[in-house]
Symmetry: C2
């Protein structure tokens, strides 16, 4: 097992300007190849603190991944500090300049002096070209340990990790073992209930396999990761555990693919030539937003209505005024009519509708905050369900979104299996 | 200046299960009272690493804020480790039990043994009640320095910080200075262009004042924070700098209030009895979502249409088919008709419409990825503008959202001033 520390550098991280999502993403990627992140440290753009962080990290782990502080402006001092730490001097690297030139030509910009100087790199490192930005990635070795310095811009860092860094790390640390993953999307369980349900299974897992819980607002992704020198042996181990888990969880598993729900849905709808619309009340546009974060979602997603006011439910979605009066906007009757309405006006095969009390206000004795009705419809078929989530508005919105997408996916998949 | 380290504890932070937003929020709050966060460290639920992090932090800062690892399950060992570090033993605290009982009674749950044990607290600390959860906050003093242990659940931590911890920190460190903030929302500037524009201003700021840049997808919040023993002197200093800044930035400042855009809009619409609807194409529901994250937004926000497909633009929003054919969906003609359509079908005073190419696909020579048309309308008045954002889909969606909300706010404010 290779132990890792992630060091993030930048004043903006310490004054709360920026939420650090880089280290979370890096940890996930390293976890997949069986590396263990043991520490994360954040320091400002300050030589003494950076040097101290490097020292501390080399004393306790084998691989150090550093992000940030390598932009062209004078407050970024990571490169200079790396030179000092590794007793290195800056030399000009033609390939970096060529990469910068290609990048700037594409967008018609001219290279100023500060950007030109990005091509100076420490002489005692391996340079890894950053095709997405001007700051190259630099790779240092010391006493059988490594330190990699990457940009803090998330998509540059991700492109470098995906294209080069992960595979170099595996090679450097002789990770010749075969690694396999199997993901399961689990519904209808809280994390603690699932952990209790799977306690024996988890305890009985072979040493070279491990189980990770990746929960997100009401749904849990479970991942088994296995590592073994012999690929076919590992495959049979994985298959055995998969069978066990399928027995233990049955219908609560609604997908075995490691992709987000909105991608699963896009791919399924695209393959099956289906279209979708939404009618959102309590989720306020969050379902549409989540579906449309995926490039190309317009092939199946036609649009939707955010019917926050009752008038919108009546005038656009043609929900019965008398039903709203009799049953309330948060009711099975209304949510099903919303789904039908969206399906009709947007002329789609499927639709989703939500109506609920996100909170913190608006709750009653019979319909407390967190009550949400969700309907999904596929051609003539309609499924609707009432949920009782919690007290916190943002959680309720996200849980309703995930529940709705799960219900839709289950409905269309079941229908297209038979 | 009080120096701070934030230590976040939890295996889930190291395997990438959870993005740490706590430390960002804490840093922002401490920044406001003039405390400086110099380091952030994350360790797992592991005694040796936690003790080591405490030692390191006490060697370099005066205040240590710790979150996480104080839940009722056995993997949470922060409390036990605090006992060891501060040579303390666990004693039963009746007030904590009463708090837990009140919490559980409200939701009709019964207290199990694990939860009951949350009332055991270290004897050498001050206990701060956590009204939002079962794990109390504990406050330790050592050689004139302090360590505060808080829960990792964000809303519990925030409630504790807001109600107790911040004011106790100020008192403990004799922060009797008056502290004042002035926020400015700045439009039409990139962060680096703004920094260059304000370089002289920033260099000439009095020692006791400082300027923070808080950028978010196309808009920048600027904050001047001042600290001085004499409140009236500070007020005059702040007023002087404010005048300077207003001169330097003029119409680029569209608000001087320190609240998010969606709250500024809600308050303004509510006060002026106005209503709003949206028609979103490239933002895919993100504007509606952002507006409805605010509790009570239904008083002014009636809803919207996510018109992803052209059919939706035509059938629901009544955009001219021939205009879509002639000018394309991403055009001034179409986006203005979308805004008018939303205003009409949802019967609102104001509306917002967006149509653009979020990417990565769909760009052309004349309308490259990142091209977005935005229209805002207030009764008979219509403003529309074309933007060219970048290449990254999620950034384009968020920048278009912020630009649209800014345009709307500027329009309604200007009209209600005259």
């Amino acid at each position: 097992m290779v132990n890792v520390e992630i060091i993030t550098i930048g004043d903006e991280l310490l004054i709360g300007q920026v939420v650090d999502t880089n280290s979370t993403w890096i940890a996930q990627e390293l976890n997949k190849i069986g590396f263990d992140v043991l520490y994360k440290s954040t320091v400002g753009d300050n030589e003494k603190d950076i040097l101290d962080a490097f020292d501390k990290a080399f004393s306790r782990v084998s691989a150090i991944l550093v992000t940030g502080g390598i932009g062209p402006t004078k407050d970024d001092i990571t490169k200079k500090t790396l030179c000092k730490y590794f007793d290195s001097k800056l030399i000009f690297n033609d390939d970096v300049l060529k990469n910068i030139e290609a990048l700037f030509n594409r967008s018609g910009r001219t290279i100023n002096e500060l950007t030109h100087d990005q091509a100076y790199v420490p002489d005692k490192c391996t340079v890894i070209q950053n095709i997405a930005g001007t700051a190259p990635c630099t790779w240092f070795e010391k006493d059988g340990k490594i330190l990699v310095s990457m940009p803090g811009v998330p998509y540059e860092m991700k492109s470098l990790m995906g294209n080069e860094v992960v595979s170099r790390l595996q090679k450097f640390f002789h990770q010749t073992d075969s690694i396999q993953h199997q993901t399961f999307w689990v519904n209808h369980f809280s994390e603690s209930a699932l952990a209790m349900h799977l306690e024996t299974f988890e305890n009985e897992l072979p040493e070279n396999l491990r189980l990770a819980y990746l929960p997100a607002a009401g749904i849990i992704r479970l991942r088994i990761t296995g590592k073994h020198i012999c690929e076919s042996f590992l495959s049979s181990q994985m298959a055995e555990q998969k069978t066990k888990l399928l027995e233990l969880l049955g219908n609560n598993i609604f997908s075995e693919e490691d992709r987000p729900l909105e991608i699963l849905i896009k791919d399924f709808f695209e393959e099956n030539n289906l279209t979708l619309s939404v009618a959102e009340s309590c989720t306020g546009g969050n379902i549409a937003r989540q579906l449309t974060t995926i490039p190309g979602s317009s092939v199946y997603f036609k649009g939707g209505v955010v019917s926050y006011a009752n008038e919108a439910k009546e005038n656009i979605l043609h929900v019965n005024t008398s039903d709203i009066e009799q049953y309330g906007a948060v009711s099975q009757q209304v949510v099903e009519q919303m789904a039908k309405g969206a399906q009709k006006i947007l002329n789609t095969d499927c639709s989703i509708a939500t109506s609920g009390i996100a909170g913190p206000g608006g709750g009653t004795e019979t319909k407390p905050v967190g009550t949400v009705w969700i309907a999904v419809c596929y051609k003539e078929e309609m499924k609707s369900q009432k949920f009782l989530f919690g007290k916190i508005r943002e959680n309720n919105i996200q849980r309703a979104t995930n529940a709705a997408l799960t219900m839709l996916y289950e409905l269309v998949r079941n229908d297209n299996r038979t």
